[in-house]
């Protein structure tokens, strides 16, 4: 694990950050089988900014869970940062999540009883980093998202946009290979949305790999590439061209 905060990802070169091959996911509900993913193949190269779009029920949440190593595919292979994670044990998956993925959730998912820096430092605690170092790195990460003056605040004392930025600082703090954002602007007003999207742009510009799950076209328009899902299959995978500048940024 690197200790740099803003350096480019170490996965430059030919190997994709994430690589899905014919991934399917079948949920069993009693005798009923529901196929949420029916063979998804997807590569994301280092430094890419990919938006995954699709209507509800299209399988994008399931895809997000599999990309995030929160769930394993029923069939097919998934390689994250060069590691085959499709048949890993629960402990190994936990380690991979800790090491390689920075999550940003729609609900922020900060622990209300803990200060901003403790929230940011949580993944470092699970990585076995010493307490003094945790604080130092958490503060640096909070500085990176522009919240250096909110280090000791609790989530309840922060606005929604600030809370989401704390969550982004938490996602960045372990220097993961992939930032995985699941509807990160779903609970935010337009100003905060712009803040968060600008921050994602900055991270992308700094060379980070970002996968963004959204159903909003404006948000997806920021990404360099848009993957559309429908009924568990990729229906469209195209460069979004120039970043859309309309709507969100007024």
């Amino acid at each position: 694990m690197t200790t740099q905060l803003t350096g480019p990802s170490q996965f430059h070169g030919t190997e994709p950050v994430l690589s899905l091959r014919d991934v399917t996911k079948v949920y069993r509900n009693g005798s009923l089988e529901v196929a949420a993913l029916r063979g998804v193949t997807l590569d994301v190269q280092p430094g890419e900014y990919v938006a995954v779009m699709g209507p509800s029920g299209s399988g994008k949440s399931t895809l997000m869970h599999i990309i995030g190593c929160l769930d394993v595919p029923s069939a097919g292979t998934y390689r994250l940062a060069g590691e085959d994670v499709s048949s890993m044990s629960e402990n190994d998956l936990a380690d991979v999540r800790n090491r390689s993925i920075g999550f940003v959730f729609q609900q922020f998912n900060l622990l209300a009883s803990m200060t901003a820096w403790s929230n940011v430092a949580l993944p470092l605690a699970y990585a076995g980093v010493s307490r003094a170092q945790r604080r130092e790195r958490a503060e640096a990460s909070l500085g990176r998202v522009g919240l250096a003056d909110r280090v000791g605040h609790r989530p309840g004392e922060l606005s929604g946009g600030q809370q989401q930025r704390v969550a982004m600082a938490r996602a960045l703090v372990t220097e993961p290979a992939l930032i995985l954002a699941d509807e990160p602007t779903g609970n935010l007003d337009s100003t905060s949305t712009a803040d968060v999207l600008d921050l994602l742009d900055e991270l992308h510009d700094a060379g980070r790999t970002v996968v963004l799950i959204t159903h909003e076209h404006d948000v997806a328009g920021r990404a360099g590439r848009v993957v559309r899902l429908r009924d568990g299959l990729v229906t469209d995978d195209s460069p979004a061209g120039a970043r859309a500048r309309s709507g969100v940024r007024s």
Binding site: L70, Q107, N109, G128
Partner: protein
């Protein structure tokens, strides 16, 4: 994440849910305090009984007359016969017949009214011999005890118990005063020191509320009927604790021979010793202790179920937190450890507070119910350990539930 980090997280969670944690701790607290108090009460009662029996005298055998059987076959109660005589006592005192017997004190007692001027006091008047003082392990606070000369001349002298002296004269400084017993004036020659056991016990009250006169005087001037020739009780002191059982054998065979009884099952007397008294009394208080401790243990169990209940609620309520921690890289074992530590902390805090309440109760309770409460260190540390174990055991199931939660289910729930 180190153990210290996990401990900090658990403390944080307890602080966040103060009320809930306090109520859970209360359940354990009551159980632990109850265990410490009931065990303390039981041990206190045992110590009291032991002290009372020891106050009777050391290495003591007590010989009582057996029951009478009338010609119609009707048996009288224990001690109703008057088969023991002063001659029996003298025979047992012989070092040739009974080498393991150190001293013998025949005794007869009756309830008499003691009169001083216009005041009177009814108490137990014991007629006995000079060896009574050493056999019963008593001491004098002032004056002298009965002498052989008093015994030989049936002198009208009396030694008063401390309580009796105070009741009659208002003080214990009464040597030389006169007391009228059964119409005969007696001179007070000594006062017994209060017996050692606790002042609240009823038995020591009667130990201190007594009047001792020579056996010969009692037989001639105070008692009437059969008591003139017989004695009610013979106290026998063995040379040592080890000689107690041989002293028992010697007294038994000598009395059987003296009374002409060949079948020992038909003996017209009973010999009891301290050990058997202690055993009987201790078994009673032990039964009581076990019963009370059982009730206390059940309350501890209920406290433990309370811990489990609260931890299950906690797991359900913090399902998102658990999901988040897992998403951020917490292994299942770590989640289990976090909840286990939280549960054992609840138990441990309850244990320490319960021990504190139990100790405080042990200090306060004796003044309210006049029963001694003995604090036993094994019980205190044992119950703190039990509290910790209860937290741990009843935390296992909730912690495993937390550890097994799938991160997506936990994150999804709202």
């Amino acid at each position: 994440m180190t153990w210290l980090d996990t401990l900090r997280t658990a403390l944080e969670a307890m602080r966040t849910h103060r009320m809930r944690s306090a109520l859970t701790v209360l359940g354990i607290l009551i159980g632990i305090a109850a265990v410490i108090l009931t065990v303390g009460l039981g041990i206190g009662a045992q110590q009291q009984v032991t002290a009372q029996v020891e106050a009777l005298g050391t290495n003591l055998l007590i010989i009582s007359p057996g029951s009478t059987t009338s010609t119609t076959g009707l048996r009288g109660g224990f001690g109703s016969a008057s088969t023991l005589t002063q001659a029996d006592a003298q025979a047992l005192a012989s070092p040739v017949v009974a080498p393991d017997i150190a001293a013998v004190a025949p005794s007869t007692s009756s309830s008499q009214s003691l009169v001083v001027g216009s005041s009177n006091w009814t108490t137990t008047v014991a007629g006995t011999t000079p060896s009574w003082l050493s056999v019963r392990a008593r001491t004098l606070s002032s004056g002298v005890f009965l002498s052989n000369a008093d015994q030989a001349s049936a002198a009208s002298v009396v030694v008063l118990g401390a309580t009796t002296a105070t009741e009659l004269f208002g003080s214990t400084d009464v040597v030389g005063q006169s007391v009228t017993i059964a119409g005969t004036p007696f001179t007070v020659i000594g006062v017994l020191a209060p017996s050692g056991s606790s002042a609240s016990s009823s038995s020591s009250t009667s130990n201190d509320d007594t009047a001792v006169i020579p056996l010969s005087t009692a037989q001639q001037r105070v008692s009437s009927g059969t008591s003139r020739t017989s004695v009610q009780t013979v106290y026998v002191q063995a040379r040592s604790q080890a000689a107690l059982s041989s002293a028992y054998q010697e007294a038994n065979s000598e009395l059987l021979a003296l009374h002409g009884i060949t079948n020992s099952a038909a003996a017209d007397f009973t010999i009891t010793n301290q050990a058997s008294l202690v055993t009987t009394a201790a078994s009673v208080s032990k039964t009581l202790t076990v019963l009370l401790a059982g009730v206390a243990a059940i309350s501890l169990l209920v406290g433990g179920i309370g811990v489990m209940n609260i931890m299950l609620v906690s797991v359900t309520e913090r399902i998102r937190e658990i999901g988040l921690r897992k998403a951020l890289g917490a292994r299942p074992a770590l989640i289990r450890r976090q909840f286990l530590i939280e549960a054992s902390l609840l138990g441990l805090v309850g244990g320490f507070l319960g021990a504190a309440v139990g100790i405080a109760g042990a200090k306060i309770l004796p003044s309210l119910i006049s029963n001694p409460v003995a604090l036993s260190m094994p019980a205190i540390f044992g119950s703190i350990t039990v509290a910790l174990v209860i937290g741990l055991v009843f935390g296992v199931y909730p912690a495993s539930r937390a550890a097994q939660l799938a991160p997506i289910d936990a994150l999804r729930s709202e």
